[in-house]
Symmetry: C2
């Protein structure tokens, strides 16, 4: 997409001023309309060293209200050791109605920080795909994404770097890698060009901006911004055009039984057997947890299940085996206002476990295809799309070495009723039962359909579902513990 | 406070069980009462290596609902380079109604991470004071703080470390510094003892727990937890006892004029003069900003002022001089639910600038003694206490090298009325004026009293207030820019 640079006539100051006045005013107005319509915009500025990224960003934010935007550079977005490379960008996604200006952003992750070259071939391809999926799910979920690449030719770059170097106040900004880039301009040209071509999606196209003349570049970028925001507003009223799906590698679905085909009768344990098994499992888990802690392997245990199926007690038995400083229980309730203002996966991304830690989710991102689907908190298109988005989310984590085990705690309708009554009749347990539980119970069939669909579409080799027969709590606890034990063992061996 | 260790009779298993049953039940109930009353509890567990901190924490969280607590160890609380040492603990303060269990916590900051010794004498004293003030403001603002120190004698420690070392599964946990601690037990004894004595405040007392017998320790800790939480609940109903003030070092107040003694008439600039000055200031600021960026000096510019005094335009002129990647504008609106659930300074602590960055606050923490005071969003005791708390907050930042400049943008009542009408009559500006502005205007006199008190009590050498005469916007902008320029210059020279 990068073309050999052709000299242009410079834009005169007066022409520039005349062109910019209406554009600036338009952007000033658009920022408020966009906010009113809850559209978040991400403006990614990549480009050659010394191509004027900072200056251009300064120009773009000038007409904006400081409450409406945030500026970050990829270098300053801290990444914790061992986390998936996209996590830090998920963390800083702008809430609805706001702008994020980001320098280089996730594209930086395609080449080494210190070295000139690309990341390892294998990582490169895989990261490229991750980026494509990331941008697609952003656009699908209402984010507007602008990607600018500032293009200058070899000589312009050389001249600018020399000028910076000659000035006492700007000298410090020229780093060795900038000089190296100029020296190997042709190699970089090829690399950038390839990245641009490969990530030039319909919904998130690259705009290459020739920026030897900064007036020309500024004007161009303002035109693209204003027309792009205007289009986003129009589309919002017409409904989005969903981007074509990107097939996930290795997405091997595991065939799951329907819920009503899961026999619950014979799944129970005597109290003695339970105690003995529990003790054995705990000792084993304790050691396994220390091992993954030392090896810095992150691990997720995700719990879903019917109300009163025994998630709490099950989670408790699991936690008791672990060192309290190396796991987190993440109880998932209705999203807060801040969480609602972001991509629905945002609140889960920011809670994924750090290296060596175990995150136990008490309810999960599957809320999208369960409660949100059934209560109508999202549209049909949104929950239909969610199966892929969720598989991709889990894929990103698994690819980064994270173990994932997902439990569906299954009880039958009679057992649930029995437990509801028991909760109502026990003073210490009464807080556990709410009107909402009764309401959900009335929709048992709708939930069953949704659960069956979820199990069939999201049980993958990397993140399999396990149905836990839970009419007998003791049986359920031991079964869950054993599955976690096996999963950690397999992970340690792989 | 540490005593020579005396051998105790071990608690028998059956005695222990009998004692723990009611305590556990009590804690289970208390967690919900405490939550209902919006009390946040912080449980800090410090102690010798191998004294059983992890095991004790595991015991404490067992009866708790995972939604009610979070466990962290000081090691895992990330600290960004150059930030004040308390910032990372401010960041993780639990919201109201929740528990935070923290291993070592801020006490770790009193001795080097890698070395056995204390931090440098000067830093040590200053950190000790910072910790005292930190704990005091937590307690004053309704947090319940438990501080446990687990105490074992030299031999017990030696035996435990040897036992860990002998076991393949626990060997990795024994670090060199643990062995070193045992080798120099007497020195550490003296150091710990001193820290305990010096930070043994009335509102945040240390509880030394002999933990050679883990049953004894667990029981003891449960007793203290339950009775402490119960006391907090009782006190909440009676009102808190405020801890004695801790005098801030170097708090030299600068005498400020009363607002009605500030002459506004002669403060104006012609358009030409303004343009010339603006250009000069910008060039200078641009270079100065690069310098503090390179030297990793953080800087805060705080704006307060009457509605329509011109904060927005003033901030804009300031920002235009800076590289967009090295400053943040922080617009402060009404606190969110999450922010309300924390100490009122929390939302400002987490927004303080990182090393080399400039944070510009559009309204500030002074809301506590302005709008919150006048609208009755806090009690009189709370806003009276806030002057000290705010001085301490700024002191912590300044001590860490951060420059702080605070502006009060002063206009008179007639000028405000003129600007309100102008906003109402200009379509593009109409969004800027709300009913609230008119309501605030009616309370002009109450605000004036509050502002005068604020200026007189919080203008310190480290964080001085500057009154900016703003009837003429051009004059105001240039004056503010020049003050920032001078402040950065002084900081660079110091």
């Amino acid at each position: 997409m990068l073309e050999q640079y052709q000299k242009q006539k410079k834009r005169t100051k007066s022409d520039f001023k005349a062109a910019m006045q209406p554009l600036t005013k338009q952007l000033d107005t658009l920022q408020r309309t966009v906010q009113k319509h809850n559209i978040a915009a991400i403006v990614l500025v990549d480009g050659w060293s010394a191509s004027g990224k900072g200056k251009l960003t300064a120009a773009m934010i000038e007409p904006l209200d400081p409450r409406n935007y945030r500026v970050v550079s990829a270098e300053s977005v801290a990444s914790e050791r061992g986390e998936p490379f996209l996590k830090r960008f998920w963390k800083i996604l702008p809430p609805k109605g706001k702008f994020l200006f980001i320098e280089r952003g996730w594209y930086r992750a395609l080449y080494e920080d210190k070295e000139s070259g690309l990341v390892r071939r294998k990582d490169y391809e895989s990261r490229l795909d991750s980026i494509k999926r990331f941008e697609r799910t952003l656009c699908d979920n209402g984010y507007v994404l602008f990607k600018f690449f500032l293009h200058i030719d070899e000589n312009t770059q050389k001249e600018r770097l020399s000028a910076y170097n000659a000035n006492e106040n700007t000298k410090w900004r020229v780093e060795r890698r900038d000089l190296r880039q100029n020296k190997k301009y042709a190699d970089y040209f090829e690399m950038f060009d390839r990245i641009l071509i490969e990530t030039n999606a319909d919904t998130a196209p690259w705009r290459v901006i020739r920026s030897a003349d900064s007036r020309y570049a500024t004007e161009k970028v303002f035109e693209i911004l204003t027309s792009g925001l205007q289009r986003a507003l129009d589309e919002k009223q017409q409904g989005y055009i969903t981007a074509p799906k990107i097939i996930l590698p290795d997405k091997q679905l595991i065939k799951m039984p329907l819920l009503d085909q899961v026999p619950l009768e014979n799944c129970h344990l005597t109290s003695e057997r339970y105690k003995a098994e529990l003790e054995k499992c705990r000792a084993e888990l304790n050691i396994l947890q220390q091992k993954i802690f030392r090896k810095k392997i992150p691990f997720i245990v995700a719990y879903e299940g019917w109300d009163a199926a025994g998630k709490g007690g099950n989670i408790k038995r699991l936690c008791q085996s672990f060192d309290p400083r190396s796991y987190e229980v993440e109880p998932i309730a209705a999203p807060t206002a801040d969480e609602l203002a972001h991509h629905y996966l945002w609140r889960f991304w920011i809670r994924t476990p750090k290296a060596g830690h175990i995150a136990i989710f008490d309810r999960t991102w599957y809320g999208r295809v369960l409660v949100e689907r059934i209560e109508g908190f999202c549209t049909e298109a949104e929950y239909r799309r969610a199966y892929d988005e969720i598989n991709e989310f889990e894929y990103e984590l698994a690819k980064n070495g994270c173990g994932i085990v997902k439990f569906w705690l299954q009880i039958d309708k009679d057992e649930q009723l029995k437990r509801f009554h028991e909760r109502e009749n026990t003073p210490e347990k009464r807080w556990k039962i709410t009107d909402e539980d009764w309401r959900n119970r009335e929709r048992w069939d709708a939930y069953e359909t949704a659960v069956n669909e979820m199990l069939s579409k999201t049980s993958t080799q990397l993140a399999p579902w396990h149905i836990i027969e839970s009419n007998d709590k003791r049986y359920a606890r031991i079964k869950a513990l054993k599955i976690v034990i096996d999963a950690i063992k397999i992970l340690l061996e792989s």
